[in-house]
Each structure stands twice: as structure tokens, then as C-alpha cells.
């Protein structure tokens, strides 16, 4: 029995070692469990939440844009979309075929849906078509039992009820492009729209609002199981514009006959823009719905540049409207208003002849006569006395030659030439003849229609350097619109301003004035202003010999631009207007009557309210 006992002893020892080893390993397991579930628990808890919780952004509704009277300019409308959930549709192809019998589905939409259905997870809804009409929605709803996996989804999309009427001011919204990404996760939401131009772009951040979010629990393949938490975002701010939609509409209709036009009406006391019309226009709704490449190409290649806001980015030779600045400079320089010049129809400088628009000459004219009748020869003389730099200095005080910080993008600065400018930029010295050309608003001088309106406003508002604006930011906090005196003064003397205003009055209301035929005879609503006719091309000697052609006889492209700047009422200025009709012919013939109609309508719509406001302030 000895060996058996030995064997039992050896077995017992070894079995104990083995079991001891097992218990040690059990200890290791417990230790590891303790490490994972206690020491590292927080880290893994976080990782677990990362795993299962997805943050979904909720797009806030975009702020509305309204005019000064609260009429809607940009709103959000319900956008009915038809979506397809592949896992609920038994057969995607067949379902699409059946849907096609209910509403029309384009071939490229169909291909896109099939492509996305292959690429995405089966429970992710795919948009088949957007912007469904109410009829289409009903047709789908009626046929719902035959369309498994098809449902109607309601989203919001931007809508401009008046479409083209204020397109340039409003701008538009469109899908976010690669370069718009700023890191704001909202921008990466599918279907999110961002302001691309005008007010929509300028105030995009305020209009956009703050995103809300919803925390959802998802499983390993990303399917949403339930919502854990939801915080609604802050909707975008409402933006109130200074514009009057009624006036905007009136002007749009008034200039509808002209191929290219730009006009702006503003309040001379605070720079609030009441209307800004650039023709032709475009439909901003089209961008939201997604422009196809053909429509986009048509917009881009249209020679009339419908996307361009000509009021702020069109740079035109101001023609005779620039005489306002020249006369102001002359009065400031101390040249007597009684200074007389004899106009024989032209002036000679060296070997060159500078013609007056009236080839028969105006005879003996003083400063007010020269302005009233727009005598070019008188202004050639003034220019020679002043020199280009003094004209430029006054023009700049009136707001020409630089951007005016308008609150929409796209403003151009125009051009007011000086000797120094020409030397630096063209490397040539200034020629005297160029001063003469500049004095009648031709040559290097370029202005935007907005600058012309501001120039007029500054001339008639007591000399304050008002700046234009499109938004009344503080409308909710009561009427805090600035008054003229809250702007810095231009430094132009009262004597000079009153002289110019007198001349502008006569240009319209004096029988010899260039715009006499367009005057308003209603008492208290008369306006003052200045016509302008800007040559598009130089008139050659040969043409002048054979007699200058009438605009009507020229091809459209070669006709003069027709301009007018004005203000009303003439004895208590509140509104300033500038009108530019491209290739519209003479200023007194085309632009002046338009300006008259605009100022008459503006006063009809706005004057009682404006005067009441002023009364209340007192």
C-alpha cells in the first residue's frame, strides 16, 4: 500500500497547487473587474454615452424680413417633400415606378434616389422631390396604401412673396457651399440654406438664429431608438427694413419699360432708404428651390446683368448731375453767383473745342442761370477757375468717390479724379482739358446711383453727412431713427448750400429750367433737382459737322444715359431721389418725369407720416 499512499499524497499536493492557481486566477478576474467597473468606470461610462448618444441639430426657423410698415418681404413657408424610406418600401424601383404614376418624377431624381438608396442605411429617408404643390400632396396621400415607404415630410423653405420686386435688396438664400463652412455645425445640416446676397447675407447670422438640439439614443448601426433630451433653438431675428414695399412696387412698375434702370429714394435726414430698384431683376425664390445650370447660365450671361444691384454697384458717368458738386465747390471757393460768362455754344482751350449741349449757345449767363439751364460753357469756366482738386474735395464731402457703408454687400466706390490720383495711377500729369470734361461729369468721373442720391441729400439736409441704411435695427425699442444732426457736418457753408438749392429749384420750377416740363404743380409738393445726360461714347468731329444725331435715331447701345437727381418738398426737403436710365436718352426727357412720379408717390405715401413723426419729436 506504500506506493498507493505516496500517489495519494502527491495527488493531494498537486491538486491543491492546481486549485490554488485557479483561485489566484479567479482573483485576477475579480481584480480586472474591479479595475474596469470602479477605477475606469467613468471613462467607459463616457465612451458608452459617446457610443449611444447622438446629438442632432434642429434648424431654427429663419427670421422674417419686413418693410417699414411690417409688410412681409421674406417669410418661411411649409415645404412639402415626398420622402422614401427604403426599408419600408418592399422594392425601391417598383415603388418609384408606382409613385411616378401619381406625381411626375424626373429621370435624374430617380437615378439619384436609387443611388442614395444603395449607399445609405435602409432606414434613412431619402428626399424624392421637394416643393410639392398641394394637389400633388393630396394625390400622394390618397394613394398612400399603394405606396409603402413613401411619406410626406414638411420642412420650411424661404419664400419671397413679392419675388422680383425687392430681389436686389433682399438677396437670396441657397445651399451652403464648401467655402461658406465656418465650423458652425448648423451649416452642415442637409438642406440648410444660407444668405447669399443682400440683406439675407448681411444679416445672415441674426436671421439664422441659434440651433436647438435633440439628444437621441442610437444603436450600433445608427438607428434612432428614442429621444433623451430636446432643447429648442432660438429662432432667427426679425429684420425690419427702412424700405416701403408700396413705393418699391410703384417704382418697379414705373421703370418696367426700360431695359436697364437704377433708382433709389432716401430720407435726407437720416439716410433711410425708402426704395431701391435695379432693373432688370431676378426671382430670388428660384435660388432656394435650386437653380438648374441652364437657368443659372442665363442669369449669369444676360448682358443686362439681372443679378447686379446697379444702384450700388453700377458706376456711371454722372453727367450734368455732377454740376451740383461743381457749383457747390465754386460757391464755397467764393466765386460770386453774379459771375457771368458768355456762352456761344463752345469754349476753346488751346486747339481743342469744348462744346455746350446747346450748340446755339446760352448767351450771357450767371451761376444760377448756368445751373438751371445746365450750360456746359459756364461750368467749363468755373472748372478752369477752381481746378480739379477743389472740385474733388467738395465732391468727396458730398459722399462721392468712396463707399458709403451701406448694410448690404456689393457697393462700389465710384471715382472722383484728382491730379495726384492720375499721377499715381496712370503715371501722367493732369491736363487742363480733363478738368473741363470732369466739370460736366464725364471723363474719369464715375458715381453710383446711391452716391448721387446721398450727394443730393447732403446738399439739401442742412449739410449733414448722412449715410444710407436699409435696416431699422431698433424698431422694437421704439422710434430711435437718427436725425440728421447725429451725423457729422460736411463743413459746407449755409450760403453755398442755399445757393445750390435755389439753382436746383429753378432747374425744375423756372420756365427756362431743364426739367420744367416735369415739375409738380400740387402746392407744397414741388421738387427741385438736376438733370443729367451722360454720353456713352465721344462725339467725333465728323458727327458734329454733320449734325449730332438725335438719341432716337441711334442704336440703343449708343444712346446717352439719362439721369436725374432731385429732392422734395422743395422748401422743406425730406426725400432725395436719383434716377439712372441706361441709354435712356436726355435727362430731362426720360429721367426727370420718372423722378417726378417717384417723388410725387413718395410724398403721397410717406409725407403725412414723416411730418407727424417730426411733429411728435418736437
Amino acid at each position: 500500500m506504500q506506493p498507493e499512499k505516496l500517489r495519494v499524497k502527491s495527488f493531494g499536493r498537486r491538486a491543491a497547487v492546481l486549485v490554488g492557481g485557479k483561485l489566484a486566477l479567479v482573483g485576477v478576474l475579480c481584480g480586472r473587474l474591479y479595475y474596469l467597473q470602479v477605477l475606469e468606470s467613468q471613462r467607459y461610462q463616457m465612451l458608452a454615452d459617446d457610443n449611444r448618444i447622438n446629438l442632432r441639430l434642429l434648424a431654427p426657423p429663419r427670421g422674417h424680413i419686413v418693410d417699414r410698415n411690417g409688410s412681409p418681404l421674406a417669410v418661411n413657408v411649409q415645404n412639402y417633400r415626398v420622402v422614401l424610406v427604403p426599408e419600408q418600401a418592399l422594392d425601391v424601383r417598383e415603388t418609384l415606378d408606382r409613385l411616378n404614376t401619381v406625381i411626375e418624377i424626373h429621370e435624374y431624381d430617380r437615378r439619384r434616389v436609387l443611388r442614395e438608396a444603395r449607399r445609405r442605411r435602409a432606414f434613412v429617408p431619402i428626399t424624392v422631390r421637394e416643393n410639392l404643390s398641394w394637389q400633388e400632396v393630396s394625390r400622394i396621400e390618397v394613394n398612400a396604401p399603394d405606396l409603402p415607404g413613401i411619406s410626406i415630410d414638411v420642412g420650411q423653405s424661404r419664400h419671397y412673396p413679392d419675388g422680383q420686386i425687392a430681389a436686389h435688396v433682399m438677396g437670396y438664400v441657397a445651399a451652403v457651399s464648401e467655402k461658406d463652412l465656418t465650423g458652425d455645425p448648423l451649416l452642415e445640416l442637409p438642406g440648410f440654406r444660407i444668405g447669399k446676397n443682400g440683406i439675407e447675407r448681411q444679416h445672415d447670422l441674426a436671421l439664422r438664429g441659434t440651433a436647438g438640439n435633440s439628444q437621441v439614443e442610437v444603436n450600433a448601426i445608427g438607428r434612432v431608438i428614442r429621444e433623451l433630451e430636446r432643447s429648442e433653438g432660438r429662432p432667427g431675428k426679425r429684420i425690419v427694413l427702412t424700405m416701403d414695399l408700396r413705393l418699391q412696387r410703384f417704382i418697379t412698375e414705373r421703370v418696367a419699360d426700360y431695359r436697364r434702370a437704377a433708382t433709389v429714394v432716401l430720407d435726407v435726414r437720416n439716410g433711410e432708404i425708402l426704395a431701391m430698384v435695379s432693373a432688370p431683376s431676378f426671382d430670388p425664390n428660384a435660388f432656394n428651390e435650386g437653380l438648374n445650370s441652364k437657368a443659372w447660365k442665363e442669369l449669369i450671361e444676360n448682358p443686362d446683368t439681372p443679378l447686379n444691384n446697379k444702384v450700388i454697384s453700377g458706376q456711371y458717368a454722372p453727367g450734368s448731375t455732377f454740376k451740383l458738386a461743381v457749383m457747390m465747390a465754386a460757391a464755397e471757393a467764393g466765386i460770386s453767383p453774379d459771375h457771368r460768362v458768355f456762352c456761344s455754344g463752345f469754349t476753346e482751350l488751346g486747339h481743342q473745342r469744348f462744346h455746350c449741349w446747346n450748340k446755339h449757345g446760352h448767351g450771357l449767363v450767371n451761376m444760377v442761370d448756368g445751373m438751371r439751364e445746365s450750360c456746359d460753357v459756364y461750368f467749363y469756366e468755373l472748372a478752369l477757375k477752381l481746378g480739379v482738386d477743389r472740385i474733388a474735395a467738395t465732391a468727396r464731402k458730398l459722399g462721392l468717390g468712396s463707399k458709403l457703408d451701406l448694410d448690404i454687400p456689393g457697393e462700389r466706390s465710384g471715382m472722383i479724379p484728382t491730379r495726384a490720383w492720375k499721377r499715381e495711377n496712370l503715371g501722367k500729369s493732369w491736363l487742363k482739358g480733363e478738368t473741363l470734361i470732369a466739370a460736366i461729369g464725364q471723363g474719369y468721373v464715375l458715381t453710383t446711383p446711391l452716391q448721387l442720391a446721398i450727394m443730393t441729400a447732403r446738399a439739401v439736409n442742412g449739410g449733414y453727412a448722412v449715410l444710407p441704411r436699409l435696416t431699422r435695427e431698433t424698431i422694437d425699442a421704439g422710434d430711435e431713427t437718427p436725425t440728421a444732426s447725429s451725423f457729422p457736418h460736411t463743413g459746407i457753408s449755409k450760403r453755398a448750400r442755399e445757393l445750390v438749392m435755389h439753382a436746383l429749384d429753378e432747374a425744375v420750377n423756372h420756365p427756362r429750367g431743364t426739367a420744367y416740363r416735369s415739375r409738380i404743380q400740387e402746392p407744397g409738393k414741388a421738387f427741385g433737382g438736376k438733370t443729367g445726360t451722360a454720353q456713352v461714347r465721344r462725339i467725333t468731329m465728323v458727327e458734329r459737322e454733320s449734325g449730332v444725331k438725335k438719341n432716337r435715331e441711334k442704336p440703343w447701345r449708343e444712346r446717352d444715359h439719362s439721369l436725374f437727381v432731385g429732392y422734395a418738398p422743395v422748401d422743406n426737403p425730406v426725400f432725395a431721389v436719383s434716377v439712372v436710365i441706361e441709354h435712356g436718352g436726355g435727362g430731362s426727357k426720360t429721367a426727370a418725369p420718372i423722378a417726378r412720379d417717384i417723388l410725387r408717390e413718395t410724398q403721397r405715401l410717406q409725407l403725412p407720416q414723416q411730418l407727424a413723426d417730426a411733429e411728435r419729436k418736437k
Binding site: R14, A15, L25, R52
Partner: protein, 383 residues
């Protein structure tokens, strides 16, 4: 007739054997199996289908089999150990040619009612035949290397076959379980060290023979975070689920990671993770303690047995059982590479449950026949 007399008798009636059944062990087994049912119910998102119900049926069948084995005379098992082994080996060879590969690597033979995995049968057969072989040898005999040739062959043949399938987990289980048997039989320590050294030296050769996915598993084990969405996914997700359970767990049916399917195939190999996510550290310790209790109980049964065959069978069964538990839990906690080993009595799956219950049947059999002395050659021998 006193109880003492009964125990001394080698020829017990069936009724006598029945009253000798180890009820505490049965209770422990049932407790573990119940936890398993609860977890499968949870894995089915609070439903008896598709897993919990079928697992219960299997358990009932397994329990009957276990009792039948426990009540059979221990000498039958000694006598037919090699036959059992031979049948298992033939089946193992058969699956090489006719088996079906599914879910990873384990091969099975499709029978009418269930899938038979010969490698599972082999675990039991190997324990039995090694026990029978060493039962015959005296301590002195064991020291002779020539005497070890046969048992080494016994181990090598099935291990090689299983490795070919390829099933790394089961072959490791066979190898380590057998090594424990050799150790218990009294094989000198230095021989293990020698074999260990040879094994170490042959690692480069072995590495080149491993399948790519096996290499990947080892590589991902070494740094799971390097590829969180690829092969490291399972280990990392498993650790996340475990860690997020905390001390008290998320509650029954509340495990977020498992229910949101971040844990793939949670009803099988990674069920411990789900359990620990729902019941936390406290529940985890409790489960491990249950397993440890069974191991200690098995050890006690082995020590109490008067026959060497019984002792070896008890320790062999309990060691195999422990290896299952350890490899599974260590794997889901990221302590060892991912090897496909189920958690005994809890993971969903028929074959593994059968193996474990057959093993427990043998363990109880040893307990019932604890006082029986068996001669070296298998004939009974009254004390």
C-alpha cells in the same frame, strides 16, 4: 443497514445511488443556469424567444443526461473510456471531410435534432482516457518517459485535428486541461519546464502556421485601441459595456450597450459583458464566486475519492470547467486574446452545455462512488 455500510458497498442499487446525489452541486448548477436564462431573456430584449426558451429545453435534456451519467456505475466509464475516446476521434476525423463550418471555425456534424461538435465530446473523452491511463500507473511508472508516450499521443491527435479546423480556443482548452492531468498524475515539474521551453522556441514556427485571422486576434489583443472599428471593435466595445456598468450596474434589461447592439452576438461568447453591464461589479463578483464555489466543490470531491480514477476524473472535469470560465471572462475583459470559448451554463448554445453537464455528471458519479476502490486494471475491489 446503516448509511456507512451503504457507502462501503461497491454494488449500490440505483435507489441508493440516487440518495447519494450531490444536491448542493445540483443547486449551484441550477443557480448558474437560471442566471443564464435571465440573461438570454434580456438579450432577447425581454423575451423568451428566441433564446431563453430553447436554452431551458436544452438544460432540461442536459440535466437528465447528467443524472443518468451520475447514476451509472463508475466502472462502466473506466471500462469504456478508450472506446469513448476512439469514437470521438473518429467523429473528429469525419468532420474534417464531411463537417460544416459555421460561425467562425468550429465544425459540426448536422444530425437530425442538433449539431454535434466532436471537439466537445473529445474534451470529456480525453479526461476519461487520461484518467484511465494514469489510474493504472504507479508514481514510479510515471517517471519513466516511455510511459508518457501513449498519453501524449492521446492528447496530440485530437489537439492537432481541432487546430486544423481551425479552432484555437478548443485546442488550447484540450492542451491545458491535459497538462493539468499530467501534472496531477505526478509528471515531474522539469518536464513541463522543458516542454514549455521547446514550445517557446517554436513560437516563430507556430506563428507562421497560424491563420491570418488568428494572427489578427493576437495583434488586436495586444493593442485593441489601434483599430477601434476593425478587429479591436469587440474587445473595446466589451470593455466599454463592462466599464459603464459600474458598481451596481444599469439594472436588469437596462444594459444600453448590449441592447443597442454595440455588442455583437451578445447571447453567446460575450454574455458576461452584458451581465456585468446590467448587474455591475456586485453581480460580477457574485457570478465569479458561484463558479469558484463549484471549482472548490469539485476539488473537495476529488480529494474525497478513494480511487485514483475518480480523483483524476473529478480534477480533470473541474479543470476543464474552470478553463472555460476563465478564458471566457478573461477574454471579454481584454486580459487574453479573443478565443471562441462560451461561458459555461450561461452562454446560449447546446453543445457546450451538454459537455459541461456531462462533465458534472461524471463529477457526481465520482462523488457517489467516492468510497469504491478500483484495482489498477479496472476490476472492483472491496475494502
Amino acid at each position: 443497514m446503516s448509511a456507512r455500510d451503504l457507502q462501503n458497498s461497491n454494488d449500490m442499487t440505483l435507489g441508493q445511488r440516487f440518495w447519494q446525489l450531490n444536491w448542493i452541486l445540483i443547486l449551484l448548477i441550477c443557480a448558474l443556469a437560471s442566471i443564464g436564462f435571465a440573461m438570454l431573456y434580456s438579450a432577447g430584449n425581454g423575451s423568451y424567444t428566441p433564446w431563453a426558451e430553447r436554452q431551458m429545453v436544452r438544460f432540461a435534456v442536459g440535466m437528465s443526461l447528467m443524472l443518468a451519467i451520475a447514476l451509472t456505475d463508475i466502472r462502466v466509464w473506466l471500462r469504456y473510456a478508450y472506446l469513448f475516446y476512439a469514437i470521438s476521434l473518429i467523429l473528429l476525423i469525419a468532420v474534417e471531410f464531411a463537417g460544416t463550418v459555421g460561425m467562425g471555425a468550429q465544425r459540426w456534424i448536422g444530425l437530425k435534432f442538433f449539431h454535434l461538435q466532436p471537439s466537445e465530446l473529445m474534451k470529456i473523452a480525453l479526461v476519461l482516457s487520461l484518467a484511465r491511463y494514469f489510474h493504472r500507473l504507479s508514481l514510479e511508472d510515471v517517471t519513466r518517459p516511455t510511459q508518457l508516450l501513449f498519453p501524449i499521443l492521446l492528447v496530440a491527435a485530437p489537439t492537432a485535428l481541432v487546430l486544423r479546423q481551425p479552432d484555437l480556443g478548443t485546442s488550447l482548452l484540450l492542451l491545458i486541461g491535459s497538462a493539468a492531468m499530467f501534472f496531477l498524475a505526478g509528471v515531474r515539474i522539469w518536464k513541463f519546464i522543458l516542454i514549455g521551453l521547446i514550445g517557446l522556441a517554436s513560437i516563430p514556427v507556430g506563428w507562421s502556421m497560424l491563420h491570418n485571422y488568428q494572427k489578427n486576434r493576437i495583434m488586436t489583443f495586444l493593442s485593441p485601441e489601434s483599430d477601434p472599428l476593425g478587429s479591436g471593435y469587440h474587445i473595446l466595445q466589451s470593455k466599454i459595456a463592462l466599464g459603464s456598468g459600474g458598481v451596481f450596474g444599469n439594472g436588469f434589461l437596462q444594459g444600453t450597450q448590449s441592447h443597442l447592439r454595440f455588442l455583437p452576438e451578445m447571447q453567446t461568447d460575450v454574455i458576461f459583458t452584458m451581465y456585468a453591464e446590467e448587474f455591475g461589479l456586485v453581480g460580477g463578483f457574485f457570478l465569479i464566486a458561484l463558479y469558484a464555489a463549484i471549482v472548490i466543490y469539485g476539488f473537495a470531491i476529488a480529494m474525497r475519492s478513494r480511487s485514483h480514477f475518480g480523483r483524476l476524473v473529478a480534477m480533470g472535469v473541474i479543470t476543464t470547467f474552470f478553463l472555460y470560465v476563465f478564458m471566457n471572462i478573461a477574454m471579454v475583459m481584454g486580459l487574453i486574446p479573443v478565443v471562441g470559448v462560451p461561458l459555461p451554463l450561461i452562454s446560449y448554445g447546446g453543445t457546450a452545455m451538454m459537455t459541461v453537464l456531462i462533465g458534472f455528471g461524471l463529477l457526481m458519479n465520482v462523488y457517489i462512488h467516492r468510497d469504491m476502490r478500483i484495482s489498477r486494471y479496472g476490476d472492483d475491489h472491496r475494502s
